[in-house]
């Protein structure tokens, strides 16, 4: 090669400055001649020839925009004087407490622009450790419920008229109740300040009394404790100390006493890793398939009336006596449970869901015998969640009838709906002066003479003492939306002497706590924290046990009712006792066991389906099971108990006791006049299910099970299920094993998939990600988001589902649309049965967008509306989506959701919701679209319009917020603080999330260090490379666990 230089000019040869300047500017483009535009007018401006097309394009586009595209005008009125603590767009968080009929969960309320929009668990609470449940998550929606009463009212003929001004109301009611024996009928009150107010009230009305009424009562337990320990209370339980847990029908992970607290405790012994290869052992004896039962290691079924006999048998088995039930599996279970309980040396706990005093006495005796009292049962700290005594209610009604009680003030209870003998209560109510503090026009309130609606808890000051010495404070997060008043204020006003200094609850509350805590600083700190807890953990103390009633109790408990069929009433984790029945988020939350929304139904066993309905869910050959599985219309049966009957559709659930029908309470809310139900109680509650409270019987305490007769009818009724097939079909969706196999060889659980992965890589390489494809692998530097879900600690409680709904403005679609499989949940809980059909194992698997690195949805979208971010997120661009639904077809996990109708009112076409209501859409969808309810929407998340696909975004708004914070603080470590909504809500910390490229992150450690033997991806063989890993389930049982035992049936 020649080194000769050729030059064109002297300038080039000598590299003069002028030459360099000219080469630099050789292709210089004329800038827009803006300088010429100053004041000579645009018409005089020069237009370079080369830019003609640019100008033409611009002016055409501008003209078209100006002429045709109308931008809707939205008026935003800024603050005239901005409040100090509100920055538009920046959320504030306030500690408060979710309270609902004795339930209390410490929470942090996210408030945006003065509106509470999301409930998060308060991590400072040692009771819940930041956990929540579905009802607490959903309660923010109740605040914006359009059926909330807006002002004080008094009865006027058949209707009500507004009472203008609280003073007028006070005078009127004050006169009406003066000199009468006043009964306060409330739900369980565990607020210390309120209890103090009630005491003061009782001083003013000495002939009155305070009655606490729980729709689902724990009276049997409280009375049994009185008999055994001399304490009319419920102790606190320590599931975290229990290595062996035996539950007799107590749904402590779902609905029993304090499920959030217990789930959190329970999960501590359900986490398993290489370093801690231990699990608690959980036995469940029950009649229905409960959420707790579905999490049990070993589960046995019996008739509801056999509960006492089982308890007695366990007690006897502790002394070596063998049980003698006709069901040998049950006998074996009792033996096994007793052996385990004995060997646990006090680190064991027996709980029972029965409301029978005698059975609870036997349970106390068992706990005494195994040494649980003082180890897992703590009498130093009581549980104050439920205090109602069933007998008190009976006395009250009698006194109301006899005139011994002249006035009843009702707060937060609805006995006309939930009391078993509703008519008796109604008649009694008509005889007295009745005042309701309830927030909505429920069945009881509409029969009262005076109504003074109390605040929603998000508008209230207050406190709760769910456990002795553990306080949780409430502070309002929004000004009262309506003309409501704290019911405590009413009590103060009606009982205080004239001229009293304190005549409202807020002042009372502040004075009370300032005095109690000693200083304003401590008070403010307590408000900020939300919780006040003992500085030192008190030692667990045993109660003094007395067995004076035991012999009697054993005899009474051991008797078993004869009857071919028995019913058992239970609460669903969503609707509970029915107080939140008008909450569309809860109504649309699929029950984790049955996956049914918007209804209650009769849960029956496959055996009963066969004998009663000739419905053979096992028989695949005849097409019968297919019909049952694939059609939402289910046969209706008629159940009669003590002359009262109810007709409900059936749901066949394996694991139900063959002689038991389970019915959920909380449904069938109905005003006195059916037509007004939608307006008074609400559009969502209207028409959802049937009320089964009338089937409760009273026998000293309320009994939630009875002998029943059942017959089939010719009718069918559609149930809206979100999952119809309950078996994995041996597909690599779930991996499980038992503890023994896992401890012996941790690799065994994922052995099969590991081998298969190697088999399908090129050249048998171990690098499945790179070598199982012919396409190149790309580096994924920086942040790569990933999630891990522990199937061992996930109980299926569904708090995450509601949290996701609230965080991401997920639409409610109503029963009719769910029935057409059009539900919108971004996160769902898949439920699979495995093993014995009569008593299967159940696995819950939270399923959400897996954010696949090799996502099949992405390449099929014709308009690239879904794509991959550099942080590993599978993104959905709503305003690019044209709705071909190809991505949804191609998603192996079926997590993509299409906006089939205008669920949000955000459609491009105006008013096209109303024409659909009644034919394709339920009125409950409209409930979510009124101006009041829309205040719950999260402004950080787009409300999707009709016709687009949506799906889990990994709460990208939270990711962005955390990253921004980390950037502002110049500290990348802060990214580890990120918490997505489902993870935050989880009471058992089953969900971990973070940057998988960060070796210090939890997610990295779980996948690569701690849980390498359990971490798997769902259907990994497809090589879609999901970013959500699951940890295989390990059960502490002797039974063989695994998919090969699976039986096919439709459930």
């Amino acid at each position: 090669m020649s080194n000769k230089k050729y030059w064109q000019s002297f300038g080039e040869l000598n590299q003069t400055a002028s030459f360099e300047e000219s080469t630099k500017n050789e292709f210089k483009e004329e800038l827009l001649p803006l300088a010429d535009l100053d004041d000579k007018g645009i018409l005089d401006a020069q237009t370079p020839r080369r830019d003609f097309l640019k100008y033409l394009g611009f002016s055409t586009a501008a003209a078209a925009l100006a002429a045709s595209c109308e931008t809707p005008i939205r008026k935003a009125v800024p603050y005239l004087n901005r409040p100090d603590n509100i920055i538009p767009g920046v959320p504030n968080y306030y500690a408060s407490t979710y309270i609902n009929g004795g339930d209390a969960i410490s929470v942090v309320v996210k408030q945006r622009d003065g509106r509470p929009i999301k409930i998060e668990g308060n991590e400072l609470s040692t009771i819940t450790n930041g956990g929540t449940n579905a009802q607490a998550q959903a309660s923010v929606l109740d605040l914006y419920d359009n059926t909330r009463l807006r002002y004080p009212m008094q009865k006027d003929g058949s209707g009500f008229k507004e009472v203008t001004g609280f003073d007028a109301f006070d005078n009127m009611v004050g006169a009406a109740i003066a000199g009468k024996a006043v009964a306060l009928l409330t739900s369980t009150v565990n607020s210390p300040s309120t209890l103090a107010i009630i005491e003061e009230f009782k001083v003013k009305y000495p002939t009155g009394r305070h009655i606490q009424y729980d729709a689902i009562s724990y009276s049997g337990m409280i009375q049994a404790n009185e008999a055994c320990y001399g304490k009319k209370a419920i102790p606190s339980y320590h599931f975290d100390n229990a290595k062996v847990i035996v539950s007799l029908g107590a749904d402590f992970l779902g609905t029993w006493i304090s499920p959030t607290e217990f789930s959190n405790q329970y999960s501590k012994n359900r986490k398993i890793s290489g370093e801690q290869p231990e699990l608690s052992k959980h036995f469940q004896f029950e009649s229905t398939m409960s959420l707790t039962g579905s999490n049990a290691d070993d589960r046995y079924t019996h008739k509801p009336s056999e509960t006492g006999a089982v308890a007695v048998a366990i007690l006897n088995a502790l002394n070596g006596a063998a049980a003698s039930f006709s069901d040998t599996k049950l006998n074996e279970g009792i033996r096994l449970a007793a052996t385990n309980l004995k060997s646990a040396a006090g680190n064991a706990l027996v709980v029972c869901g029965s409301n029978d005093v005698n059975i609870q006495i036997v349970i106390n005796a068992i706990n005494e015998a195994i040494g649980a009292n003082g180890k897992t049962i703590n009498w130093a700290i009581r549980s104050n969640y439920k205090k109602g005594i069933d007998g008190d209610m009976v006395t009250l009604i009698n006194d109301m009838n006899s005139g011994a009680i002249g006035a009843v003030l009702i707060h937060d209870v609805n006995p006309v709906y939930s009391y078993s003998d509703s008519k008796k209560f109604k008649d009694a109510l008509a005889k007295v002066v009745s005042v309701s503090f309830n927030g909505t026009m429920d069945e009881t309130t509409e029969l009262c003479k005076y109504i003074l609606p109390s605040h929603h808890w998000l508008e209230s000051w207050g406190d709760a003492e769910p456990k002795t010495g553990y306080y949780s404070l409430l502070q309002p997060t929004i000004n009262p939306l309506f003309k409501t008043r704290a019911w405590q204020t009413s009590l103060i006003k009606w009982s205080s002497a004239a001229g009293s200094m304190v005549n409202d609850y807020e002042t009372y509350f502040k004075t009370y706590w300032n005095a109690k805590l000693g200083s304003t600083d401590l008070y403010n700190k307590a408000l900020q924290d939300g919780v006040i807890e003992p500085s030192a953990i008190l030692p667990i103390t045993a109660g003094t046990f007395s067995n004076s009633k035991l012999t009697e109790a054993i005899t009474a408990a051991a008797s078993v009712q004869s009857g071919a069929v028995e019913i058992i009433l239970y609460q669903k984790i969503s609707i509970g006792n029915g107080s939140q029945a008008n909450n569309p988020w809860l109504q649309e939350l699929p029950d984790p066991i049955t996956k049914v929304t918007w209804d209650n139904y009769a849960m029956i066993s496959p055996a009963m389906a066969l004998s009663l309905l000739n419905l053979d869910v096992m028989n695949q050959e005849r097409g019968k099971q297919s019909d049952y599985e694939v059609h939402p219309e289910k046969p209706v049966i008629k159940i009669t108990v003590n002359g009262k009957s109810v007709q409900l559709p059936v749901i066949v659930i394996p694991g139900m006791n063959a002689a038991t029908i389970a019915l959920a309470v909380g449904y069938g809310r109905e005003s006195a006049s059916k037509e007004t139900t939608a307006d008074n109680i609400g559009k969502s509650a209207n028409g959802a299910g049937k009320n089964v409270y009338p089937l409760v019987s009273f026998n000293g305490t309320n009994s939630y099970s009875s002998v029943a007769t059942v017959e089939k009818t010719d009718t069918k009724y559609p149930l809206a299920q979100t999952q119809v097939h309950g078996f994995t079909e041996s597909r690599p969706v779930i991996y499980e094993t038992n503890l023994k196999s896992f401890v012996a060889n941790p690799e065994s659980v994922l052995e099969e998939i590991t081998k298969e992965k190697i088999a399908i890589t090129i050249g048998g390489s171990k690098d499945f990600v790179k070598d199982a494809t012919i396409y190149p692998d790309y580096d994924k530097p920086g942040i790569k988001w990933g999630m891990s879900i522990d199937l061992n600690t996930c109980t299926g409680c569904s708090a995450c589902v509601v949290a996701c709904t609230a965080e991401n403005n997920v639409s409610v679609v109503g029963k009719m649309q769910v029935q057409r499989a059009h539900e919108m949940h971004w996160l769902r809980i898949d439920r699979y049965f495995t093993g014995d059909l009569e008593n299967p194992d159940v696995v819950f698997q939270p399923m959400l967008c897996q954010h696949c690195d090799n996502a099949p949805c992405e390449n099929v979208c014709p308009v690239a509306a879904t794509n991959h971010s550099s942080e590993g997120l599978n993104q959905m661009t709503y305003n690019r989506c044209i709705g071909t639904r190809y991505c949804a077809n191609n998603c192996p996990y079926k997590v993509r959701r299409f906006n089939w109708l205008d669920y949000t009112g955000a459609d491009s076409f105006a008013d096209n919701q109303n024409p659909m209501v009644g034919t394709y859409m339920d009125a409950s969808v409209m409930q979510m679209n009124d101006d009041l309810t829309r205040m719950v929407l999260n402004p950080d998340v787009t409300v999707r319009s009709r016709g687009v696909i949506e799906k889990c975004s990994f709460c990208v708004q939270r990711l962005q917020e955390t990253k921004l914070e980390a950037k502002k603080q110049q500290d990348p470590k802060l990214v580890r603080n990120v918490k997505v909504a489902c993870m935050q809500a989880c009471p058992t910390n089953a969900i971990s999330f973070g940057n998988v490229n960060d070796k210090q992150s939890d997610i990295y450690k779980i996948r690569n260090v701690e849980q390498t033997h359990r971490a798997f991806y769902v259907m990994e063989q497809l090589h879609v490379l999901p970013n959500v890993s699951y940890l295989a389930k390990v059960r502490n049982t002797e039974r063989h666990i695994g998919v090969e035992e699976e039986t096919n049936a439709a459930v």
């Binding site: 297919s626 694939v630 119809v724 597909r731 499989a821 044209i882 109708l901 769902v1018 259907m1019």
Partner: protein
């Protein structure tokens, strides 16, 4: 003298009835010039009614949402895409007849090609409705067009088979339309020339683009036909291949199958010919064209039906075998349980498809049945039903129970508005076809004249006369006179 008269017995004539050119023109053009029959009005109004119902169904769907349909979170595509593939498939016979048979110089195509091509165009028009209106936001449908815009890097996704569809179907429609219309020009000119009213003259005058029938025109016309035939031929294969990619390139078990392209093409031709049969058997009867669309034509098409039907059968069995042999548990489940299991929810549709597409066409091995008009008509309906179910089986039975069992679907059957949309496309198709049959020559007049053995037939008559004639007289009259 009989030596002068050689006649092949192998081929039957393509046109019966000793037609001469004038007669052909009369037979085919006359219906255009007459008032339509009562039957035409009845048929036309039924079609219009169906079309209006379809328009209303689509109006509801676009205004209020696809939530009125029964497709769901698992079955994203149901009747909509089934109907799309079915209509697209039907179109294929027209293109095959006009293009491939032209290149292969199959004279018999002239009797049926015009109607078949019209059918293609109308079928593609019907097909196109589905992918457009099944979109959630059809008003944003223009996003699928790769036009220069101001959205920066956001463009169409060339990886998506749906985008390939956009190109494939629009190309197909354009080429088919051009082909059909260019073939029509000489005939439209004939209609124009015969027109008596001013409006007719003007309408057909404009429509025939100033055709004069000059040699130059004919030469260009022929060349254009050849070029378009050359362009159309690959389209016959490519369009349905690309449609099959919608499924084949996905990961849904039962869709993800490499055999789909040839299988879809064969199926398309199969169903297309069945549809041609259905239409032409009616047309020849109603417009009295039995002499132009002869039993010979019908038999020829039945032969194609039995051929393509057997290819399809072969594909079905191959697919089933490979599903088993391939040992992919998901795919095997889709075939074994979702389809071949008669007791599964959709088992019946698989067996219905097998019966209609595999068993029933085998009847056509018998030449007697092949030439029986009633049997053919009945069979053509059966095949169309079968081919509709083939698409239904592929689309719905694959996706309703795919990977994750938790998401397996409930039973899917269409809602009234899904059904209405489908019926509406029938309305569109037949409305177009009725208008076509009324206002355009349903047989290619110019082309059929080219295959008419006029000279042969006339020669035969002349020779017979000659043989009978007196030789002396013949000599005097003809030969001497000539001198």
């Amino acid at each position: 003298m009989s030596l002068l008269k050689y006649e092949s017995q192998l081929r039957e004539p393509l046109v019966d009835g000793n037609k001469n050119y004038h007669q052909i023109t009369e037979d085919i053009i006359r219906p255009i010039e007459m008032k339509p029959s009562r039957l035409w009005y009845i048929g036309f109004f039924i079609s219009i009614a169906l079309l209006l119902f379809g328009v209303y169904s689509v109006y509801r769907e676009v205004t209020y949402g696809i939530g009125q349909w029964n497709v769901n979170k698992t079955i994203g595509w149901g009747w909509d895409i089934t109907n799309f593939v079915w209509w697209i498939g039907i179109g294929h016979a027209g293109t095959l007849i006009s293009a491939i048979l032209l290149l292969f110089r199959q004279g018999w195509r002239t009797g049926v090609n015009r109607a078949a091509e019209a059918m293609t165009i109308f079928a593609v028009m019907c097909a196109g409705q589905f992918p457009i209106w099944h979109m959630g936001r059809v008003w944003m449908a223009f996003f699928v067009l790769p036009y220069p815009n101001s959205r920066g890097p956001l463009w169409v996704n060339f990886n998506s088979p749906l985008l390939w569809d956009v190109f494939a179907v629009s190309t197909y429609f354009t080429v088919s339309l051009l082909f059909w219309y260019s073939g029509l020009i000489p005939d439209l000119a004939t209609v124009r020339d015969r027109a008596k009213t001013k409006f007719r003259k003007m309408f057909y005058g404009i429509a025939s683009f100033g055709w004069t029938g000059s040699t130059k025109h004919w030469q260009r016309h022929e060349s254009l036909a050849l070029v378009l035939a050359g362009l159309s031929t690959p389209l016959v294969l490519s369009v349905h291949t690309i449609v099959s990619f919608d499924f084949a390139t996905s990961i849904v078990p039962g869709w993800h199958t490499t055999i789909f392209p040839p299988y879809f093409v064969a199926g398309a031709i199969f169903s297309g010919f069945a549809m041609v049969q259905t239409l032409l058997i009616i047309v020849r009867k109603v417009l009295h064209l039995q002499e132009y669309i002869t039993v010979g034509h019908i038999e020829a098409m039945n032969k194609i039906i039995v051929l393509t039907g057997s290819i399809v059968a072969c594909a079905y069995l191959t697919e089933l075998f490979i599903a088993w042999y391939g040992q992919n548990p998901y795919e095997w489940y889709a075939f074994k349980e979702n389809r071949a299991n008669l007791f599964s929810p959709y088992g019946w549709s698989y067996y219905l498809m097998m019966f209609c597409n595999v068993l029933s066409p085998q009847l056509f091995w018998s030449s007697k049945l092949r030439r029986n008009i009633t049997v053919t008509f009945f069979m053509s309906i059966i095949v169309n039903i079968g081919m509709w179910f083939e698409r239904f089986v592929i689309i719905v039975t694959s996706v309703y129970r795919d990977y994750l069992p938790s998401s397996w679907s409930t039973y899917y059957s269409p809602s009234i508005w899904e059904l209405g949309f489908y019926l509406g496309t029938f309305g569109l198709f037949f409305t177009c076809f009725f208008l076509f049959a009324k206002y355009f020559p349903v047989i290619a007049v110019a082309e059929i004249k080219a295959v008419l053995k006029t000279s042969g037939e006339n020669y035969k008559v002349k020779m017979t006369d000659l043989e009978k004639a007196d030789a002396e007289k013949f000599y005097i009259d003809e030969v001497a006179h000539a001198h």
